[in-house]
Amino acid sequence: MNLKLGNFHVKDIVFGEKTMYKDGILTVNKEELLSLILADKRITKCDIKIARPGDDVRILPVKTTIEPRHKMSDGYAYPGQVNPLAMAGEGLTYCLKDMSVITVGKYGGFSEGIIDMCGNGAAYSHYSKYVNLCLIMESTDEEEEKSLSYKKSLSYRNASYKASEYLGRTVKKLTPDEYEEYDFEPILKRKELELPKVVYVYHMKSQAIQRNMNTTLYGCDADKTLPMLISPTEILDSALGTTVECVAACGENDMDYANNPTIKRLFREHGKTLNFVGVILTESPTDMLEKIRCSKMTAQLCKTLGIDGAVLCLASYSNAQIDFIYTFKEMEAAGVSVVGMVMECCGKDGRSQPLVLMDPKADAIVSGGNVSELLHLEARGNIYGDLDSVLRDPWSGAWAKDDIYGPSLREDGSLLIEDNCMWADCSPIGFSDKTVEEF
């Protein structure tokens, strides 16, 4: 399987008469994009704003982030999500890099997040480094949005895909700045490599019993799956879709999935230090028996394939850490050398047990940060979204009152929150260089 990504590096986004891309500048016809979004009658209001690195802007509550793409060969940019089903992972896909389309709502909840474009808050999301096109919306799902801590945000997600396809189309007749090529040779046709056989194992989120909440693979709900092997090029070509079943800091959204830096690094090592055999997708169910089944079947799959090593990525924290530790142990028992990627939850003071389940067999871990670390973010002059949401809504990592700390939203507009709120900040997918050390 050969995947070629044609990259266009977006230096700036401006509004103008014609939506087009030229020399690093993406011009957007605001009215045209607005009418496209408002064609969905569930969207009652939409404003579009641009947030550049260094701008005095705080964006919240962030619902989705996505990279505009266009599939040049057969298939679709986001197959099985909003597009019809087609297989991803082969051919040519154009990508608008260094930017994202962000959907922003009014009400925050479990999985909504914050992105600051400047100041001390800008250290806490890799999205602060991109030029972001923000779709600030309200929807007819208002009752659902107001009342629930889990919001499916279907209309927002739909709008993000539509806007991204619309912007992706602007480059379809142009020549990319550069190409990234990922060649994944069929594993049974490889000439015998005397190198350790390695897989990347990813826990999709699947705690929800309702549809449209868990991670999706080609639109299929993760909880309908069992551990499986797929090509890493499929992940880089948008086979995985956003979950709303995970806090913001864990960073599970389309753009992160499709740019997985650990998969890219494994590709770079392929043929040199290791033989990259593929990605095992497993899930993280709530039922204990299912957790055991998934961890054992993942190990069994490694055994069947003769896998020597694996990077195991914890998708989220709390009960998903049980899946992580079980899978780690089962794989080690099956003779696989495992390195785990996690985020920790050590409390505001860093003194709490980092994972709900600890085991000495999990002896090789890379940490992505402490989701419950206390942050005091300076006030920002411009709010894209609704700042009052922090006090009003059931955020993960923000609070209306606290005997020690007082409310998360201070009188001067600054925020005292947990890292939990910061969009993709502690993601174990590997975008950050953050770790945790003992003091």
Binding site: S149, Y150, P196, Q207, I209, Q210, M213, V247, N260, P261, T262, K264, R265, L274, D308, V311, S318, S337, V338, M341, E344, C345, G347, K348, D349, R351, S352, Q353, P354, M358, P360, A362, A364, I365, V366, S367, N370, V371, S372, P394, W395, S396, G397, W399, K401, D402, E418, N420, P428, I429, G430, F431, S432, D433, K434, T435, V436, E437, E438, F439
Partner: protein, 347 residues
Amino acid sequence: MKYAIVYVNQMFGQIGGEDVADVGPSLHEGCIGPAVLYQNFLGEDIKVTHTIVCGDNYMGSNTEEALAQIKEFLQDKPLDLFFAGPAFLAGRYGLACGSVCRMVEESFGVPVFTSMNQENPGMEMFRKEMIIFKGGKSARSMGENVKAMCNYALKVLNGEPLLSAEKEGYFGRGIRKAVYHGRLNSDRAVDMLIAKLNKSAFVTELPMLTSDKPAPAHAVKDLKKCRVAIVTTGGIVPAANPDRIQSSSATIWGKYSLEGMERLSPDDFICIHSGFDNQLANENPNIVAPVDAMVQLEKNGVIGELYPYLYTTTGTGTAQAAAVKMAQGMIADMRNHEIDAAILTST
């Protein structure tokens, strides 16, 4: 000018050896013994004004009196830094350094530093509370051990960035903090995997410590006579969530009346827990907080009495320390209401 005071035992305070270990605390102007070294390493901008000397046995057997006397000594002295030791392998000296540093930090709020060998029993006893530098086994390490403390103390006073325990050379206090490594997590993971596959050395970023396991409570003697409470971490709260209990990372717990209820009505109670899909719990909150079943058990005489209040919070992403604090609050309240047993439901 900033001011420092140093604590040493009778031996390093030049009073004498084991034979005078019973001597009580004394305050001396200027530097005695190791205090001279502290003064050298701290430089001209910091003055070591006093040395406090106390016998190890006196401190061990009259701890409260000794600490009270030392507190009295310090009451009117300008103080910016406090040092004790180094205690090396000396067990009683290590415990004395820990006790004095704890008192000084609590009473005067100034940074305190000590140094012990890793096998000194004082190290395990006090490491979570204060910065204890990794010291040598004997006074041969005096110079380097004092220097390490002084260098760090100067960084603290000057507001310089402080590195992790490992990098600074002290025993970790169990405080885990985010830092930036300089190399992406994705690269570190693959590097570590290559090292592990090649059986080369690597260092995990999260050492797996064993969990604290609380001892189980005594068994209930006669359930038929018990007043039983329902406690849940399943996030079941009255519909308006009046105490604004968080949907994750909770720090607040609530107590809500069940008076006259046969079961929790979905009109009056909701589930705010965001660690699971709470659709079913919202349709029937009793599946998480089983008021319906407990009322039946009360009617059937299986339990003496159902305490007519629900204790509740959210158990997802909740830090262990926050959970312990909430539990302590609930337990105190239960004791006030003579509750004999509780069932704790999670999700």
